[in-house]
Amino acid sequence: MKILYFAWIRERVGKAEEEIELPASVQTVGDLVQWLGGRGEQYAHAFENRQVVRAAIDRIHVRPEAKITGAREIALFPPMTGG
């Protein structure tokens, strides 16, 4: 699965994107964020406050309970501050 990171989540993770083989237990966006948080110090820092993490599956905003099955790319980012 292709995972993208933006803004300070990208900076904390230390990369803009990566290809990850996810375990079968990771079924939703919420599962993914929790699982990523356990991948080491940088990820733990990036995802320490799961409430503020926003997600998009294939470039569409989704909620934490969204299933990730069939996704091509999942993006994780903080609340948007454009405009």
């Binding site: 803004a7 470039r59 903080p78 948007m80 501050t81």
Partner: protein, 162 residues
């Protein structure tokens, strides 16, 4: 009716005049144009800043804006919409975003421009980082922006006076 719609994300300075002119050139059915310009200020929370750096999600940003422009066109009788969002490093005084709406009458143009800006602030995948003498920091989302976007959700469509 096909409404001329243009959405562009750019690292270059935005030419407000050219963008606005492109929307109305040769048209005599447009009676009202509202052009909103968001400009980089030199302070953020009372602290002097050197620049803003805008991060975005290429691909998603354009489609997310297009989705909201289509929603605006469903709600108001628009004759044209043009949105340009800058990314990269932006210095104080430079334009960050331009949203131009055109309609036969003013109410639709005003409401659609405000609607689009409220949504751009909260739903379009852009993130602002501030450069100060003391270092850099990411701007936090403001609750009042969410509230501003939420107020459109409960409004019936096509409620603007034509």
């Amino acid at each position: 009716m096909i409404v001329p719609m243009s959405i562009r994300i750019t690292e270059d300075e935005i030419d407000v005049t050219a963008e606005t002119a492109a929307l109305t050139r040769g048209r005599t059915d447009i009676g009202a144009v509202v052009a909103f310009t968001g400009i980089c200020r030199d302070d953020e929370d009372g602290e002097r800043i050197a620049a803003l750096v805008l991060d975005h999600y290429p691909g998603m940003a354009e489609t997310e804006i297009a989705r909201h422009v289509e929603e605006a066109e469903a709600r108001w009788p628009l004759l044209g919409v043009r949105i340009v969002h800058r990314v990269g490093r932006i210095k104080p005084g430079e334009v960050i975003v331009l949203a131009v709406t055109a309609s036969a009458h003013r109410r639709a143009a005003f409401e659609a421009a405000e609607f689009l800006m409220d949504y751009l602030k909260t739903r379009a995948p852009f993130w602002k980082k501030v450069e100060r003498a003391a270092g850099t920091s990411w701007i936090e989302a403001r609750g009042e922006d969410d509230a501003a976007a939420a107020r459109w959700r409960d409004r019936p469509k096509r409620d603007a006076a034509e």
